[in-house]
């Protein structure tokens, strides 16, 4: 475990000209997203829902949300499931992510941070070959779908009710 970054590793993937990373502690798994069930009356970045280990998780098109052109990317699509407690959602990505061990990761200098990502950018990681944007993905998801709506009654609301 990289004690400085507080993670055992990261799943990395490319989206357009940018590389992104997700901490393994936040990742619930990766699944094939060739067949998504589309939802009506939802915002454009919401691609639909997918089944993951017996549960239905919403899938967010990160490229569409960030406005990144993905034309020419390969057709196969995968969903990277993020889990926080019992809440889950998935990011639609065009490739199978790579698992980078925590020992190979380090925090990038502040100058390398892309200002376009603004408040969504949590930190910047890098290896000897590449550098990655570590985003606050839950903030992106909550901006589109409040946890009390799309993902069903959250545990916090249930607890409040109780």
């Amino acid at each position: 475990m990289n004690m400085n970054l507080g993670t055992r590793g990261a799943l990395t993937f490319r989206l357009g000209d940018f590389s992104f990373a997700v901490r393994v502690e936040e990742a619930g798994g990766v699944l094939d997203a060739e067949r998504l069930a589309h939802l009506p009356c939802v915002a454009e970045p919401v691609a639909g829902v997918a089944a993951f280990r017996g549960e239905m998780v919403p899938v967010v098109d990160l490229a569409a949300y960030l406005g990144i052109e993905t034309h020419g990317l390969p057709a196969p699509r995968y969903a990277l499931v993020l889990a926080r407690g019992v809440d889950r959602f998935a990011l639609l990505i065009p490739e199978i992510p790579k698992l980078v061990p925590g020992r190979e990761l380090r925090e990038a200098p502040a100058s390398a941070v892309d200002p376009e990502l603004g408040e969504l950018l949590e930190s910047e990681l890098e290896t000897d070959q590449d550098h990655f944007h570590l985003l606050n993905y839950w903030k992106i998801f909550e901006s589109m779908i409040p946890l009390g709506g799309a993902a069903g009654p959250s545990r916090s609301s249930v607890e409040r009710g109780n």
């Binding site: 475990m1 055992r8 799943l11 393994v24 502690e25 699944l31 094939d32 992510p97 698992l99």
Partner: protein
């Protein structure tokens, strides 16, 4: 005493009468012997002269009929080229008889080594000479070893007869058909008489067979040129031009390669399925590694590592299959393009090499006209031969106006026209023959 003497005189024979009787008997015997000898000599002489007479008659017949027959055969063989079907069967039968006899002698002489070697050499020379003659060539020129052997005299005779410039003397009168100076011709040639023997049925049969082949060839040629000749049924698929053959070969090759391309497409589909399986395996390995990383379990990490290696191996194999399929598909496409280009080049080259491959309309019309004339001549000749054969088979020379007797008296028989018309026909088949005139 005197009476006894008289009695003795009267009773005793006279010595002169006995002598005369004895001499007469001797003379009679001598005369008989002489007459018998004379009679024997007369018989011997009669038999000798009779035999000589018969031998002279027989040998004259051979001398007159032999060269004529041989020259006819050699003429037909020479003009017929290597087509054995055009040669009369009796020539082949003669060679067959000779060959059988030689084989028999060689088989009988196997007990004697020297005789066996000599006969075997003789048989080999005969086989060699026969094969060269069937090809329409001169054995003495083609095989020098035949110049010193038992076949030398025979081959020289064949060569001298075959080299007789008969055909080159066209147009011919009937008296000039065989030979340059009439040597060896029977006195009745060319106009036959009642005494002249009819043509042998085997010769007529050989000529008829050759004519049938000739008519068939001409009809096929006329059909190929688009003329009015009748094409025999079943030959439409066999009579194809070189360009059509090139097209057929190209189409066959293209069909095979297109089948191969279809198989490659199927292989690509299977490769895509394998790639999907590989992706699933990769996802499985990734999820296992992710759980192992999250849990920190070394055992789980080891299993995840093995799963990852398996997924990598499957991906490498799938990538190799996809790359090979793509390369083969690309090369197949190039091959199809090259075949079509080669087909066009081959057709162009055929048209350049052989002007007959793409005849101009005028040349085609002229060729059709020539073929039509040749076909008419061949059919007339065949009809004449058929009529002659029917008359000969009827065996009644005085049956009516179409009898052989009338042909003999008024006009040469159709069979006698065969050499002249046949030579004209053969001359017409030669390239550049002035048939239009």
């Amino acid at each position: 005493m005197e009476g006894r003497r008289d009695e003795d005189r009267g009773n005793s024979p006279k010595p002169s009468a006995v002598l005369i009787t004895f001499v007469t008997a001797l003379l009679a015997g001598a005369a008989g012997i002489i007459l018998g000898g004379l009679a024997a000599w007369v018989w011997v002489g009669a038999i000798t002269f009779g035999g000589a007479y018969l031998a002279s008659r027989t040998s004259r017949g051979v001398m007159t009929e032999g060269p004529l027959k041989a020259r006819r055969l050699l003429l037909m063989l020479d003009r017929g080229g290597s087509q054995e079907a055009n040669a009369p069967p009796e020539f082949t039968e003669e060679w067959g008889t000779l060959h059988e006899r030689l084989n028999k002698m060689a088989f009988e002489a196997r007990t004697s080594s020297t005789a066996l070697a000599e006969l075997e050499r003789f048989r080999q020379q005969a086989d060699l000479a026969a094969s060269i003659l069937r090809d329409g060539k001169d054995p003495l020129t083609e095989a020098p070893e035949l110049r010193v052997g038992p076949l030398q005299s025979l081959l020289e005779g064949i060569k001298s007869a075959a080299s007789t410039p008969v055909v080159s003397r066209l147009p011919l009168g009937e008296e000039e058909l065989i030979g340059t100076d009439g040597e060896g011709l029977p006195p009745t040639w060319p106009k036959p008489t009642e005494k002249s023997p009819p043509r042998g049925p085997e010769i007529a049969e050989g000529v008829a067979r050759g004519l049938r082949h000739l008519v068939q060839d001409l009809e096929a040629l006329a059909a190929t040129l688009g003329g009015e000749g009748r094409r025999p049924a079943g030959e439409s698929a066999e009579l194809r031009s070189p360009a059509q053959l090139v097209d057929a070969v190209v189409l066959t090759a293209a069909d095979g390669i297109e089948d191969l391309a279809a198989g490659l497409m199927r292989a690509n589909e299977l490769a895509s399925v394998a790639e999907r399986v590989t992706n699933r395996a990769t996802l499985l390995a990734l999820n296992a590694a992710l759980e192992a990383t999250r849990s920190g379990s070394e055992a789980f990490a080891a299993i995840a590592e093995e799963t990852r290696r398996l997924a990598e191996f499957a991906r490498e194999a799938t990538d190799t299959i996809s790359r090979l399929a793509s390369e083969i598909e690309y090369k197949v496409g190039e091959t199809i393009t090259a075949i079509h280009a080669t087909s066009e080049d081959a057709k162009t080259a055929l048209a350049e090499i052989s002007g007959a491959a793409m005849p101009t309309p005028a040349a085609a019309r002229s060729a059709r006209a020539q073929i039509g004339k040749l076909l008419d001549r061949a059919r007339e000749l065949q009809q004449a031969l058929h009529t002659s054969s029917s008359d000969l088979a009827g065996g009644n020379p005085t049956a009516g106006p179409n009898s052989v007797q009338e042909h003999v008296e008024n006009d040469p028989s159709p069979a006698d026209k065969l050499p002249a018309q046949g030579i004209l026909l053969i001359e017409g088949l030669k390239p550049g023959a002035p048939l239009e005139s």
